[in-house]
């Protein structure tokens, strides 16, 4: 789970990383804070998507009137910004912007500090434009980041004197946050060097490893973490679900297989309404899965499975029971295979369904039913 900038910055501050003075406010109650902001002011929308600058979600206002207009604009935009972090533009003067992050290196089996003297742009962009300027420091997962490494990095970044020492401290502290919060990524971009030599986190990004959510209950993802109500609702049930705007509902099992079916639908010219995976621990929950699918204006539900532990007969029976209970008005195309698949075929047939045994055939049939297909008729 990704934290909001203001949440990440709160943690950075707690771990001794200097952050700019900021005021967080609700976008619909700007009037309450209007007098307390430091103008000219930078208004940073607190949304989880990346590339906020490009999307126009970080704005600059000279005065109260302008700020009020911009806040209203952000609030009523398609991003429906709810919270804004206001930072006084003249709090300090920026001399340079650096990039700093900590992440994992899966191949080397280490943590990795990544730094660059040219911050402000996305690291992927930096990797393309100036790969030689990116500095990498591998960190042993058991030793953690050592002071000499942080110090070395600061000097490699071209910093000197007290600024180098302050930067080394920031690097060490960022690693401490990364470690303490079971992060997959801790990033400061830009990391400001001020004209007076201070080192200040201009932004904050922290992504916590989803498997450790129980250890960090304060950051459990709420509704605003998801793009749609349906995705949020499915997540509460532990069912992987993604919302799209097509007319074929996928009710499949297995992350890789569901992703493949998604590709095949697109190949055939079909459009997916939702990606839903009810394999693994959810294979007995066909009814809940179907309820979620039926919230869409789909023309067909496509069920593709090839399970091992997720037995075909159990999934087929679950599907038949779900149909009996929910009485969907749209056709269901089934391709249920795997453990006990012969029994599954019988169960489906006895319920009046026509079991298909071939994924591509099932995909073509679903696309044909949806009527958007360029493929052959099923």
């Amino acid at each position: 789970m990704k934290l909001y900038e203001y949440q990440a910055k709160e943690l950075f501050k707690e771990y001794g990383i200097p952050i700019p003075r900021g005021i967080l406010f609700d976008a619909d109650s700007f009037d309450e804070v209007a007098e307390t902001l430091d103008y000219p002011v930078i208004l940073k929308s607190q949304v989880l998507m990346g590339g906020r600058g490009k999307a126009g979600l970080i704005r600059f206002a000279e005065n109260k009137e302008e700020a009020g207009k911009l806040v209203e604009e952000l609030r009523s935009s398609s991003y429906r910004v709810e919270r804004i972090l206001a930072i006084g533009k003249n709090e300090f003067e920026v001399a340079s912007e650096l990039y700093l992050s900590v992440t994992w290196d899966p191949a080397a089996a280490t943590a990795l500090v990544i730094a660059c003297a040219e911050g402000g742009v996305e690291i992927e962009e930096l990797a393309k434009t100036a790969p030689e300027k990116i500095i990498r420091e591998a960190v042993d997962v058991d030793r953690g980041l050592l002071p000499f490494q942080a110090s070395h990095l600061a000097y490699e970044l071209g910093l000197e004197g007290a600024t180098a020492k302050a930067a080394a401290k920031v690097i060490l502290n960022l690693y401490r946050v990364f470690d303490a919060y079971d992060a997959e990524l801790a990033e400061i971009n830009p990391l400001f060097i001020t004209k007076t030599g201070e080192v200040i986190a201009g932004d904050g990004k922290l992504m916590i490893d989803d498997t450790t959510i129980a250890k960090h209950p304060g950051y459990a993802p709420g509704r605003d973490y998801y793009d749609s109500d349906a995705e949020y609702e499915a997540a509460q049930d532990g069912i992987p679900y993604l919302q799209f705007d097509g007319d074929i509902s996928l009710m499949c099992a297995g992350a890789g297989l569901t992703t493949t079916v998604y590709d095949l639908i697109n190949d055939e010219g079909g459009k997916v309404a939702n990606y839903l995976e009810f394999g693994g621990p959810n294979y007995r929950r066909a009814q809940r899965a179907m309820e979620l699918c039926l919230k869409n204006e789909s023309k067909v539900i496509l069920v593709v499975t090839f399970g091992t532990i997720a037995r075909a007969d159990v999934m087929a029976q679950g599907l038949v029971d779900a149909i009996r209970e929910l009485k969907p008005e749209i056709p269901i195309v089934t391709c249920i295979r795997g453990t006990n698949e012969e029994e599954a075929v019988e169960i489906l047939k006895s319920a009046g369904l026509e079991p298909i045994f071939d994924t591509e055939e099932a995909v073509r049939k679903a696309v044909a039913i949806a009527g958007a297909g360029k493929g052959e008729q099923a």
Binding site: E125, V141, G256, T259, D263, D267, F306, T308
Partner: protein, 293 residues
């Protein structure tokens, strides 16, 4: 000869008395796997399908010399179980749990690399040499999926593996050995690290990799082929070709950001070194036929 496991490999089961552990122990033996002993703290003296259970791996090791350990414990106990197996000198370990914290995966991989062990997983179905033995959870009894043959398979998926492997069999081939490296962001063993074994295996004519968007394992395979170290035909199927950027689709290890880890880049890298990349599962069989004449 097989990769990783064959009918002579002796196996220990950690977490043998649990529901999954017990169920799959029976099936592993059903395929011919030599299961020597099981471990569950507090359950020493019991038997599971005739297999003796011990309190600890060390206590089991007094009586049994296992080549490999199969771990069925929940994700939060998996790291401890892997270290316990390493502690007793076991150098082949399969961990199937989904949801092992990333930091612990890093620690496991680090330990495996430094101790010369091959740990496979997590979030995997495991390892199987059809007709001989398996460590994991495969429906080996479905002959149209796990027919013995001469194609090596490596995969990041579960259900999709069944799908693709069934296409390999449909095309007239069978499987020599299958290694499920798993769907996590930090698999303990990576695709390219298993290529030397497939290269050396006289029972493997070609290798199929079942990859997906995210990470860099497919690119590492391309790099390995480019270096001339793997010379057998290789066919890849990569899921998530049309996945929208930024959406978390597929396994934990599959998230595309900023144009890296995309299927398009992986396909390009593999095709540049002469590997064949299938767009659909069925095409894997067709490309194998083409490659093997």
């Amino acid at each position: 000869m097989s990769i990783y496991i064959d009918e002579n490999t002796t196996v220990l089961i950690q977490g043998i008395t649990g529901k999954e552990g017990s169920y799959w122990t029976e099936h592993m033996m059903g395929l011919g796997t030599k299961v020597l002993a099981g471990v569950t703290p507090g359950k020493e003296g019991q038997e599971v399908h005739g297999v003796p259970v011990y309190h600890s791996v060390r206590r089991a090791s007094v009586h049994h010399k296992a080549d490999a350990s199969m771990i069925f414990v929940p994700p939060r106990f998996t790291r401890d179980a892997v270290f316990e197996a390493l502690d007793s000198g076991i150098r082949k370990i399969v961990m199937i749990a989904e949801g092992i914290p990333v930091k612990e995966c890093i620690q496991i991989r680090k330990a495996a690399l430094s101790e010369g062990a091959v740990v496979v997983g997590g979030n995997t179905s495991g390892v199987i040499s059809p007709g001989k033995a398996m460590m994991g959870v495969f429906p080996y009894w479905i002959d149209r999926v796990y027919k013995p043959g001469r194609i090596g398979v490596m995969t990041r998926s579960g259900s999709l593996t069944n799908e693709v492997t069934s296409m390999v069999v449909e095309a007239g081939f069978g499987v020599s050995s299958l290694i499920g490296v798993g769907g996590d962001a930090v698999p303990a063993t990576r695709f390219a690290e298993m290529l030397p074994a497939f290269q050396a295996d006289p029972e493997t004519d070609a290798v199929v990799i079942i990859g997906e968007l995210g990470g860099s394992m497919e690119e590492e395979v391309a790099e390995y082929i480019r270096a001339g170290r793997f010379t057998k035909p290789l066919v890849a199927f990569l899921g998530g070709r049309t996945a929208p950027e930024g959406k978390k689709m597929g396994h934990a290890g599959a998230i595309v950001s900023g144009g890296s880890g995309s299927v398009r880049d992986k396909k390009k890298a593999l095709e540049a070194v002469g590997a064949r990349v299938a767009d659909r599962p069925r095409q894997v069989g067709e490309l194998l036929r083409e490659a093997l004449g």
